[in-house]
Symmetry: C2
Subunit: 409 residues, 2 copies
């Protein structure tokens, strides 16, 4: 069996105005869908980031993969690495890992379909039947500028966030709650956490300001939220800064920002900078590389969760397959899925029920491509005008004085 | 596909009188051969230790595995764990890992045969075409008591060891050399290393006294062998002791004794106790668990080699498949294969040529069971009278005053 062709399709889908430390989500989120055609009707699926420079790299990689055995991941990675522009280093992530990841997932999808088993069977087998996700709350406007209010409503204060959490918990049964912070000054976000704790006394809570705070501010927030958070995620930039905060923080620190490639693990773990790593197969190099990451966390007794960007159902399925096989997925994973409000490129997105996704038993990832939807979302990509995500520039269209600052407080 | 039956066969094969820190190898070495029958002629092979208590556990595990999908390693491990006597903790190794390992290898063999690819394809793919092994030298008598001299001759001084090395290098092309030490006082073994260096100026050398030395003695030997050894293996017992030696040793320390399960990794690496871990799929829980170990070593920039006990061709093939897929197999692996002198349970043992084994391209492990030989070696097991390896007791038949001491010097 050989890869006959790898088809790469950029797509865009509607995204609400979600606020974060860099600005606000634009009206369209971008993703890239990969189809790996291995002949005999065997097609594997992958999904990755949609920014133009990355898309270019993915297209180059797709061409390089023709003729490779989808069972030979090492050969696939070599083929991708040979043509990879290593200068493109988003947030210090491994450029080859970022480009190879959707193909690795697609190869595993093909392998699993070929052997008539779910992908988790190729990752060591199923250790759980359900993979838990958390409600991912955002401060948000009620609508994009010059648009009508979206179905989620505004959330610009504690009441708004509690209402948003209620909506998500009612709809999906989430059993833990994460707030994307770094939007307002820390005291305001602490109040929001207190309001969520009052409204959801049993739900573990997390706060993620995306490095918006100095070490000093982070330390103060950690003390102020003692007993309220199961973890505090990326309060401040860098391993050294995180280590300083971690020293006295009463809760574990989590990260998907200061530990994003293998060579970050040793300095971060040695310094005790983080107690939880959010795995993300999109930039760690796929599901097997993420399992390797989890193996290191396991040896170090560091917790594991999963990170999410705005994504579609192929990525969700990949996260579920990985989560099904990881012995030490110690925390519910993040997902933006509720914000996509049912828009997807798969025929039957894996449903989130009681806060978790039942691990599929069908062969492969457990999802099938909806070609009509793919064509529709590709058309939207063509028309939306966005080629690189820029939350800061979009925020400036509303507030010309806005600047991205890390840390801000 | 389901496991229809798991056949467990203990075997014995001739072993030369190899000296070590615990005594001397008995005339027969024991192993256990596992055949996993998955129906439709699909049979997977595994090989493990042969001591009676372990054999009992393996037999119990074999019965528990009937009906399990050979692709579902997690389910297989659970089935084995449920019946495992965790009190049997050989050298602090993980009892479930030890018992599950041959079945994990056999499951991977079946999986790989089912998909028509070598086992390494299921471990991430081939990153090298040859897996290097080192010449494994032993002090040895010329013959077992009341037996005629074996074909390897005596090696009780530097000249004997140099001759032994010459024989192995000529016959197999080994490009690195390991001496099993801990037999004579350290000054004598240092002389042997110096003689090997003089005779083989280009071959990396290793010395492994199996914890025969105190911290103080180890530190002195490390200084005395500066520039002579690529690594010094297990000079002294325990992670703390190794860390003390490592602090001033001019070469990396290696281990297969103080780091034998996942929870040893963090303390050992944090203390800088070892620079090289010798993976051994027989007690780490199989090939995937060994790959996890290698992933941790990679993150920590700790080298990886492979450990060997007296073994047959199934274990060699498993080591080769693992070695083919590990990105960071940084040192030639150990093997006792030359000491078995062609006796095997496989029809065509993988040959060692130019110091390495060419990675097979055939489906599965790359070896087939020789049922005649299996029956013959099982008959030898029945007749040999040995049920638990005891190098110390055997040494006492020659030297009644002999005692096993760790450390001895």
């Amino acid at each position: 069996m050989r890869i006959v062709a790898a088809v790469v399709t950029p797509v865009a889908f509607p995204d609400p105005p979600l606020l974060n430390s860099a600005g606000v989500h634009e009206p369209w989120a971008l993703r890239t869908i990969v189809e790996l055609d291995c002949g005999d009707g065997l097609i594997g699926l992958g999904e990755t980031f949609g920014d133009a420079p990355h898309l270019d790299q993915v297209r180059r990689a797709a061409a390089a993969l023709a003729g490779v055995d989808p069972f030979d991941l090492a050969a696939g990675r070599r083929a991708v690495a040979a043509g990879c522009d290593r200068a493109e280093r988003a947030d210090r992530q491994d450029p080859v890992a970022r480009v190879f990841a959707p193909f690795e997932v697609a190869c595993l999808d093909v392998q699993a379909r070929a052997v008539g088993r779910p992908v988790h069977a190729l990752l060591g087998g199923r250790v759980r039947d359900h993979v838990a996700f958390s409600a991912y709350l955002f401060y948000k406007w009620g609508a994009h500028p010059s648009s009508t209010e979206d179905g989620f409503g505004a959330a610009l204060d504690p009441d708004g966030l509690v209402a948003q959490a209620r909506l998500f918990v009612d709809r999906y049964g989430f059993r833990s709650i994460k707030l994307k912070g770094g939007v307002y000054e820390p005291a305001v976000e602490i109040e929001a956490i207190q309001a969520l704790r009052a409204a959801f006394p049993e739900h573990p809570l997390r706060l993620d300001p995306n490095c918006a705070w100095t070490v000093d501010t982070s330390a103060k927030v950690a003390v102020a939220t003692a007993g309220l958070l199961e973890y505090l995620e990326d309060p401040t930039p860098g391993i050294d800064g995180m280590a300083e905060v971690a020293r006295d923080a009463p809760m574990p620190l989590a990260t998907n920002m200061c530990v994003v490639r293998t060579d970050h693990l040793r300095p971060a773990f040695t310094q005790g900078a983080v107690g939880v790593v959010l795995a993300d197969h999109h930039f760690w190099g796929g599901l097997r590389a993420s399992a390797d990451l989890a193996a290191v966390c396991r040896a170090w007794d560091v917790g594991v969760s999963m990170h999410s960007n705005s994504h579609l159902g192929i990525s969700l399925a990949a996260m579920v397959q990985l989560g099904a096989a990881l012995p030490n997925l110690t925390y519910a994973a993040d997902t933006h899925t509720p914000w996509q409000d049912g828009v997807d490129v798969v025929t039957a997105p894996l449903p989130i029920v009681d806060g978790s996704v039942a691990v599929p038993s069908s062969p492969g990832l457990g999802v099938e491509l909806d070609r009509d939807q793919l064509a529709r979302l590709h058309e939207r990509y063509e028309r939306c005008g966005i080629r690189v995500r820029d939350d800061t520039a979009y925020m400036r269209t509303v507030d010309p004085a806005y600047r991205k600052l890390r840390p801000r407080w």
